[in-house]
């Protein structure tokens, strides 16, 4: 008999977005408060795992048709390119740049290239954790 987990699936549909948005918040808050790419990435993975638990592997793969190894590669590429731009202006590797901008919607905002590096970390964490879970959970 197939069990009916309608309550689990319905709650998941709501809770998933709350966890996901919280993970994005944690990711952006990293520069001034606790948080950052690593925790943010793990929280996002947590949200995806909740989806995997409530539905099954095939459904989630259909909803998120990423090859997560490629996500790892994109994350690494982003990190190395962010760290490498000083090579072209003859500054030491990993020199970051930052400035204050007046953005239309956000107002006075401090933008920092360290965030791009963190985005790389975030993608690597999500990609690596999801690859592990899908590999262990899948048949192949």
């Amino acid at each position: 008999m197939k069990t009916n987990d309608v309550i689990l699936q319905t709650t998941t549909k709501v809770v998933f977005f709350i966890i996901f948005i919280f993970s994005i918040h944690i990711f952006f808050a990293g520069h001034y408060t606790p948080g950052g790419g690593f925790v943010g990435g793990l929280l996002t993975t947590g949200a995806l795992i909740l989806l995997l638990l409530a539905f099954d592997l095939k459904t989630v793969q259909k909803a998120l048709p990423f090859d997560f190894m490629k996500v790892v590669a994109v994350g690494l590429l982003l990190a190395i390119l962010t760290a490498s731009w000083p090579l072209f202006v003859d500054l030491p590797f990993f020199t970051h740049a930052f400035d204050d901008f007046n953005l239309p919607l956000f107002g006075e905002t401090s933008l920092h290239t360290a965030m791009l590096f963190d985005l790389g970390v975030y993608l690597v964490v999500v990609g690596a954790a999801m690859t592990m879970i899908q590999t262990i959970g899948g048949d192949t």
């Binding site: 490629k70 590669a73 690494l76 190395i80 490498s84 090579l87 003859d90 030491p92």
Partner: protein, 493 residues
Amino acid sequence: MTNIVLFPILIPFFFAIVLLFFKENIIVQRILVSLGLALSLVSSIFLAYIVHTDGIQTVNLGSWAAPYGISMVSDAFSALLVTTTLIVTFFVVIYSFYAIDEGRERNYYYPAILFMITGINGAFTTGDIFNMFVFFEVLLMASYVLIVLGGEKRQLRESIKYMLVNVVSSALFVITVAYLYSIVGTLNMADISVKIAEVDQPGIITVIGILFLIVFGIKGAIFPLYFWLPSAYAAPPIPILTLFGALLTKVGIYSITRTYTLFFVHDVGYTHMWLMGLSLLTIVVGCIGALAYFDLKQIIIYNIVIAVGVILYGVSLMDDFAMAGSVYYIVHDMLIKAALFLLIGIIIFVTGTSNLREISGLMKQYPGLGWVYLIAAFGLAGIPPLSGFIGKLLIVQGSFNAGHWIGAIAVLLSSLVVLLSVIRIFLYAFWGEPKETKPINRMQYKKMMIPTTLLVILSVVYGVGTEWFMPLITDSKDVLLDPSLYIDAVFKE
């Protein structure tokens, strides 16, 4: 070019990432991996040239001044090792085009090699002790992948052993760095050296010195800590075994050399006595192992252990001649071990077995293989015009200068054992009556011979042209024996 120091690390890393996108396309992978290694090789040769003409090169990552940020430091020693690493890897990768099966190539074989090279070059270049730990982990994790890739029964068993040993030693590494940090309060290697000199190495620093010897001794396979190496290295296929045998233990040796010439130089009587004793015992067990086996792989693997002992014995003397000898010998050993492993790989390929008793009379069918092997064997043992000679000569000279005649005689006798062990392979495998062997693909055999022969030729050039390389070796030796050169280079301005 501020960042020239980093190119031999960054280029393999970048190409490793790009290769992740081409998992299924083996042709693209092969092209990109050889292109990446060629580019990094060019950059490392350029780096060695810059280091030779302009002195030690440093770069402070993120523009943070020396003790606060991570410094990458390239002196002649590390530039030499980085260049040799890339040369060896380049030839091994060309060899693996013909020696590795498609299944492995399809499953991140080349990216894993490039990640491992990133780690090795990083560990050779870094000027920060914790960053060295991170690079150790980078190379170790890539080596875990390589040792288990393919998933044969033996590989699975040995990879568990290998990982357990290395996880324990990595934990010990972190603990040791924590002890050191709690005492000197800094992680920058030049700064640690200054701080230890200020407090004149009290007992606790000597304890940390011995702990570092244990940590790096496990990685570099010195006497009581080499137990994991022979069986673990025999498990993966030949090209991977070659990379491990030629490169991984050398990172341990480099780290011991660096810490024992930069940090722990104020109580040499105690710390270096341990290093000397253990390295001599390493030579002894290596010799026993090299004579005991009738298995091609095991004989050469135990020769790695002997070489580790000889190099560290030279380091422990802290003498001009012996240090130059060790620097010369470590480069020689990387080249010649790689060549020998590739050669026995070809022998195993043409005969289908690594048991020496089942092979004979290869000279009739494969004269080229036989002569190249003989040259490599003489090079390993140190017959004068070849590359093993000068290094051992300098080490023995330094040893007699310091009055350690037992050590000098041990090194000389070990050469005899090395010669006996590799010549035994020659006598059994190449002389005698030819045996029926299964027919092999002659074309593949020829293609495998090309990179191997080139490596042997390089090692011959290294031996015959010692005079060309001597300036770099003298530079390395000067920096190793005079830490103030290293410290001043890091704290310039």
